[in-house]
């Protein structure tokens, strides 16, 4: 018996291994579309996330630029000793939220203990100790806090108020 296949062997084998051209094209299209959809899904997800995050950044930025408040006045030992009151006027179109305050006694005024003091805030009108400490648009509102230090008479203090959006306003006043 010869080990060499006859020419008919190869002819018959090629016929058995082939698929219909229509089927092959369909398969290729299906694979291509599937890969395309997968890529689109991935890209859409990635770009969508980036777009959404960027949009959020812009939204935050818009809140920052539209956050317009001023400190109208500061009063020492108000309502009690070593406490401090300040009044915020919101000149912006949207509600502003006071996030924190820092009180610093200016060293050049001879303070013995310059002490930044971010202390818990309370708010008046309404007297609501719970946060958020908000000021509605075009409203003037009083806030108080315990300085946590002894307010020295005749010294110059700087009060820095930071809003939730990151806007900072300061007010410098000499204690009486």
């Amino acid at each position: 018996m010869s080990l060499i296949p006859s020419p008919h062997f190869f002819k018959n084998r090629r016929k058995r291994a082939g698929v219909s051209p229509v089927v092959a094209t369909t398969i290729i299209l299906a694979v291509t579309v599937t890969i395309g959809l997968a890529l689109w899904s991935f890209a859409n997800s990635a770009f969508g996330t980036a777009s959404r995050e960027y949009g959020e950044v812009i939204t935050e930025y818009s809140r920052f630029t539209s956050d317009r408040f001023v400190i109208a006045n500061v009063d020492f030992n108000n309502p009690g000793a070593n406490e401090m009151a300040f009044w915020v006027y919101n000149a912006g179109k949207f509600e502003t939220t006071v996030n924190s305050v820092v009180l610093t006694c200016k060293p050049d005024s001879g303070c013995t203990e310059p002490k930044p003091a971010p202390i818990g805030l309370t708010q008046d009108s309404p007297d609501d100790p719970t946060k958020p400490l908000t000021v509605a648009s075009k409203q003037l509102k009083k806030f108080t806090f315990d300085t946590g230090t002894n307010i020295e008479s005749g010294k110059t203090y700087e009060l820095v108020v930071v809003s939730e959006t990151g806007v900072i306003q300061s007010y410098i006043k000499r204690s009486s």
């Binding site: 094209t25 290729i28 694979v31 890209a43 777009s51 930025y61 408040f69 030992n77």
Partner: protein
């Protein structure tokens, strides 16, 4: 064969399918990327919009111009209730409408304010809109006697405007201003002029004005402080200004002839019995030159200096000291008065102008860069360019040639020579606050060695100094309120009695003929006939004013002789431009010089005063003569 063809067709279909699929995938990805960039663009646009809104809001806020005014009288409401309020007015002085949303009343007394010291906040409902120039009146309180208050107006855009602080006086029902400006009737005293420039033994006047505010109409007694060297008098005292009007009294100051000070301050005080107001008058006492300075400056609105006049007069010197100098010229390097950005001084170079006539004993001298005498360190740089000392005809006697810059020490009467090439700072720095006579320094070109000081300087020490420029340097700045706006470097010839100190040559006498000039080889210091005295007989009677190329003048040229007291005599009036433009010469007959104060040097000045040149500038050329009296 048929099978291979079929396989090729199948492969083609598969390739087409791959291409279609690839296009679809690419399209999807491309659209996704496009959507992303559109989203980014939208966000960027939104960000820009927010920034524009914020900038607009800031601009609107900054453009607001609200003033808060507090009336003096308190408002009792209801009447006879004993409850008083502060009467305030908010006025929109800007062009944009604004909205007042709140007012706040603050107790600002150091003690006595309620505790806690919360302001009385009034939320205006509805808010008050003030169009441009509109005003609103707000009665704010109540207030308590003997406490100080202020009122804030808060606008919708976040501006907070305060009234002046005031102390409540319920007895008089007024709120008294505590910030310095009384709100009740009061007066103030002013002086005009507040600075006088005088010479000894002369008088000057200043008008004292008493101005009434808030209806003040009471007698005000005026007094003036006394200075030892002066006699002071006021024409009227007391004076009573009409309500919200003014009244005046004239202060006359007479300086003693022996006054030696340079600057005096007089204080005029008005007193109505309850309050006083004062004003100061400064007096600069100048025995030399100052009045010339004053006369020149006060006589013109602006002044620029040019040394052409100096140069061309020098050009007219002709023969002097036996040496023919007619070939020498003084040339200014720049057209007008500016050297390297320093106004007020001109670069002057004396150069040889004609080879055939290049004879002189005068070295080439460059005087440059006198800058504005502000508080800066460098005031004047003198640079002598050496190397040109023609020997032809030079007969200089035993002294060395003119080699150095010398400065006289007034106190020791010594003359110290400087090597200006290594020590440029010859003139002192003159503070802006110095007296009006401070900073005038005489600088000579001399033949001393650098650093050497002659124990006693005599004019003979300079007898071969053909050129003895005298710099009188004033200082000041209009911007600082002092009377002189810029450095006024004067250059003067000494016309002294002593031998060898002259610079104006008698060759100028009698229409510029040389007949009176000494012969060659004579020493002017030894020639008793070749001296220059401040007498009518010996001073030059005619000088020629000549302008090289320079500004084109308009008609109306005047030449004046300025006297030490600031008055002047017009020597030539309203001359046409034809006499001066295009290298023309103006012969000017000098007036008699009469010393006004015997024993004291005086400065007389000849001033060339044009109308306006083509650019509208006004130019004055002047030459100051020091007269030994």
């Amino acid at each position: 064969m048929t099978t291979r063809t079929t396989n090729r067709h199948n492969k083609s279909r598969r390739g087409v399918g791959v291409i279609i699929g690839g296009v679809i995938v690419f399209g999807i990805i491309l659209s996704t990327v496009l959507l992303f960039f559109l989203s980014v663009t939208d966000n960027q646009k939104a960000k820009t919009g927010f920034e524009i809104q914020a900038a607009q809001a800031n601009q609107d806020k900054d453009s607001e111009d609200l003033t808060a005014i507090r009336e003096e009288d308190l408002i009792e409401n209801p009447p006879s209730s004993g409850t008083f309020y502060i009467d305030t007015i908010g006025k929109n002085e800007g062009s944009l409408p604004l909205v007042v949303t709140h007012t706040a009343l603050y107790c600002v007394s150091a003690s006595g304010c309620p505790s806690p010291n919360d302001p009385v906040i009034d939320t205006l409902t509805p808010p008050i809109t003030l169009n441009s120039k509109d005003a609103t009146t707000r009665v704010i309180g109540p207030v308590t006697d003997a406490l100080e208050y202020k009122v804030d107006y808060i606008t919708e855009r976040g501006n907070i405007v305060s009234t002046t602080e005031c102390l409540v006086d319920l007895a008089t029902q007024v709120c008294v201003d505590t910030t310095g400006n009384p709100t009740g009737p009061y007066f103030e005293v002013f002086a005009d002029p507040s600075l006088l420039v005088m010479q000894p033994a002369t008088s000057a006047q200043s008008t004292i004005t008493v101005k009434s505010y808030n209806g003040f109409n009471s007698p005000v007694t005026l007094t003036v402080t006394d200075q030892a060297d002066f006699t002071e008098s006021l024409s009227l005292s007391p004076v009573t200004p009409p309500a919200d009007g003014t009244t005046t009294s004239v202060l006359t100051l007479t300086a003693d002839s022996l006054a030696t000070g340079t600057f005096y301050t007089f204080v005029v005080t008005g007193d109505d019995g309850t309050s006083t107001s004062s004003t100061q008058i400064g007096v600069s006492l100048i025995s030399l030159g100052g009045s010339i300075t004053e006369g020149i400056i006060q006589g013109t609105g602006s002044m620029q200096l040019d040394f052409k006049a100096f140069g061309v007069i020098y050009q007219q010197l002709g023969t002097r000291d036996g040496v023919d100098q007619r070939g020498w010229d003084a040339v200014v390097a720049s057209k007008y008065s500016s050297v390297a950005g320093y106004p007020g001084f001109q670069l002057m170079t004396i150069t040889e102008s004609g080879g055939a006539q290049a004879v002189s004993t005068t070295e080439v001298v460059v005087i440059e860069s006198a800058r504005n005498l502000d508080q800066s360190a460098q005031d004047l740089t003198l640079t002598r360019f050496s190397g040109m000392n023609p020997s032809l005809g030079a007969t200089q006697g035993p002294n060395n040639p003119l080699n150095f810059v010398c400065k006289e020490d007034k106190a020791t009467k010594t003359l110290t020579a400087y090597n200006e090439n290594t020590a440029n700072k010859v003139l002192p720095t003159v503070p802006i606050t110095a007296g009006l006579t401070v900073g005038w320094t005489e600088v000579y070109f001399c033949s001393q060695n650098p650093g050497a000081a002659s124990p006693t300087w005599t004019p003979a020490g300079l007898k071969f100094a053909n050129l003895t420029p005298l710099f009188l340097v004033a200082r000041g700045d209009f911007a600082d309120g002092s009377p002189y706006s810029q450095t006024i470097p004067y250059q003067a010839f000494t016309v002294g009695k002593g031998p060898g100190t002259s610079i104006l040559n008698s060759c100028l006498l009698e229409s510029n003929t040389n007949t009176a000039c000494p012969a060659y080889g004579t020493n002017q210091g030894a020639d008793a006939n070749f001296r220059y005295f401040a007498t009518e007989a010996e001073l030059p009677r005619t000088v020629y004013i000549h302008l090289n190329t320079g500004p084109i003048f308009t008609n109306g040229i005047d030449v004046r002789w300025l006297y030490p007291d600031g008055t002047y005599q017009t020597l030539l009036g309203n001359q046409p431009t034809s006499v001066i433009n295009g290298n023309g010469n103006i012969p000017v007959a000098l007036p008699d010089i009469t010393c006004q104060n015997a024993g004291t040097d005086e400065y007389h000045t000849i001033v060339f005063n044009d109308g306006r040149d083509a650019s509208g500038d006004r130019y004055i050329y002047y030459m100051t003569f020091r007269v030994d009296c």
